[in-house]
């Protein structure tokens, strides 16, 4: 929880932070390519020359936003994996972290997902390594579960991670696009369902029959 608490903070005169927070709003609202540097400056209430005092370029603003947020997630995944929990619980925590990140600062997550993660040209390509680290972090959870016998081994860990991440990203996309409702209950339900679906599958089996009863 408390994911990304820093991004919306600061009543201070930290102009750099002001610019970053303004950029989140503007990039989320209109898209990175559809807005001008001056829009960010206007939103931040500073002269737009100042943007270039703090950032080398418009891109660097986005890179900064992405990296500082994404690293939190990587750290969280790693930390979760170190805990002594069943894999399913770990994945639940990962899902919760991501969903809560969106809940906490939808604009920031929207920017990261839409402008970086889902944008293979320009930014996606640049941050491929970092994005991959997230898959790897999840894959490590799966891998350990396979070694410990709780997860099946016929689905490679990296595929499992891919599917799990893909499902969650699709949830975020649904919220971002306004295709899914964004109430608190929905967030909680989604967290539960994505883990349930990915771990136990969509088919009805004796096992999932028991799962239903829980």
């Amino acid at each position: 929880m408390a994911a990304g608490a820093r991004s919306a903070s600061s009543g201070s005169a930290d102009k750099r932070r002001l610019i970053l927070d303004a950029a989140i709003r503007v990039f989320a609202e209109r898209g990175f390519h559809q807005c001008r540097v001056s829009d960010v400056a206007d939103e931040a209430g500073v002269a737009y020359g100042l943007v270039y005092h703090y950032f080398r370029s418009k891109e660097e603003i986005l890179n900064t936003l992405f990296l500082e947020r994404w690293q939190l997630m990587l750290d969280a995944i790693a930390e979760i994996d170190r805990r002594d929990l069943p894999a399913r619980e770990k994945l639940a925590h990962v899902a919760a972290f991501i969903v809560d990140s969106y809940r906490h600062d939808p604009n920031l997550m929207k920017v990261i997902i839409v402008e970086v993660t889902r944008s293979s040209h320009s930014f996606g390509a640049r941050h491929l390594g970092k994005i991959r680290e997230a898959y790897d972090g999840i894959a490590r959870i799966v891998e350990r579960a396979q070694r410990e016998g709780s997860f099946r081994q016929d689905i490679p860990a990296d595929f499992g991670a891919l599917f799990f991440y893909g499902a969650i990203e699709q949830l975020l996309t649904g919220w971002i696009f306004g295709m899914l409702p964004t109430t608190e209950e929905e967030f909680e339900r989604a967290k539960r369902l994505v883990v349930e679906a990915l771990c136990s599958g969509l088919e009805l089996t004796p096992t999932t029959g028991r799962a239903l009863a829980r």
Copy 2:
């Protein structure tokens, strides 16, 4: 199979098709926003102005590419759903159709995924309805399976569809980004695994134990 056979064909003098095919290559290579209309014209070997003879704008080229291809997929999903098959088989056919589409014309799929589907600003927003239709088509398969008792009902059909589509899209993204190998075997393996994972889950159970044996 044979998905979208038309898009890469034609040694004919159909200049309109020539332009569309050139656009696929150029958009895939450098991205929609990163290339100029003249790049498309050059690639097609036609004069600049001819592009505007056939298309109202650069955007219309992309819209055309998206719509003509996406509709094939929607039709395929609907057709698959009409067959008398277990839901798992249906989903396998859907996965196969999408994967084969990528295998058949990776550039076109890359353009559609990267520039339209995963691009909420500009194009994604415009084609939201069409994109949603795909989710709905898959959801209908899941729904029927729930009614018929083969799929569990505690995971709503639309979520199931979302997760399934998300997993597949993540596969495509992996191939597009060069994060996953793109051999024939990989494509086939991926088709199988995404269905297996989504239907039976990642966890090891007595049921999946049996699945392993198949």
Copy 3:
């Protein structure tokens, strides 16, 4: 009267005439520069390549329209001047000819006035000689009246012609712009008033007092 009877005629298959008539409507409606050659062709119901079969360029269409109509006016002015009439009557006939030309084919006159006569760049410059001939024709009427003693000599004939033509052109402009009503009565009144004003002046004098009584 019956000025420019040819311009709106022809139920024949004379495509050249069809194009010219279409050009009158299109140029009048949207302006020479604001419409495309294809607009003219569409209006004429012919393929736009045909326009280039009959005319060397878009400009030549306008030149043709201007010259064929303007020459009628020059001829009319010359013919009027040859009649044995008081100068005031001659000017009245000139005014009537121009006003009736507008009444007969407002679009054509609009094109000629707006796109050629009042457009010093491009077309005005090209047809300067022809435009000047009109001034000269009127000036000749004034000049003769001065020699014969009915017109004062302290206002040079060319100035007189300029003022007279300017007043009439302003009337046309008023109609074209929709600043003056365009009823039959207004046209007749305008004919009378422009001659009266230019010949007798706006000031009230014993002479004009008598004029009132007429």
Copy 4:
């Protein structure tokens, strides 16, 4: 006199003014549509983009030039009308103001007349209201003269204004087109003649006979 002193001044570093003055020269020389924004920038000796720093569009430059100059004339006409003078004197002042405006900055007046006032499509239409105000200002002078008995009432004031303005505009057109000489004497003579012609008429009468003697 001293009409529009601001427009051609400034050796200062006011780049906005520099651009406006350059635009006057370029628009006058080659016409609004026949010149590129870069021509204006080059003429002003500033970078291309700076034009768009100060003006929203090429059109806005022309609008600005027209409005700032035209308003001076409207103000002048209103001010002249407020003076306690015979109508003929008032009209003489109006004529003088306009002629002097041309004398002072022929390029600016050329642009205004040719590109705006005489251009019913595009700009003329946009500024119809402002153009009409000029007619109305002159008409008010005539109207008052009619009420006070010095001008005849059988020629409506608005027609009188139209003819007077038309005559003057034709003079300007003559100078602009190079059809009339542009010496100081000619300007002064034209001022006198246009008023004389419009007030007293072209015909020789006992009254105008006396006028000759003056």
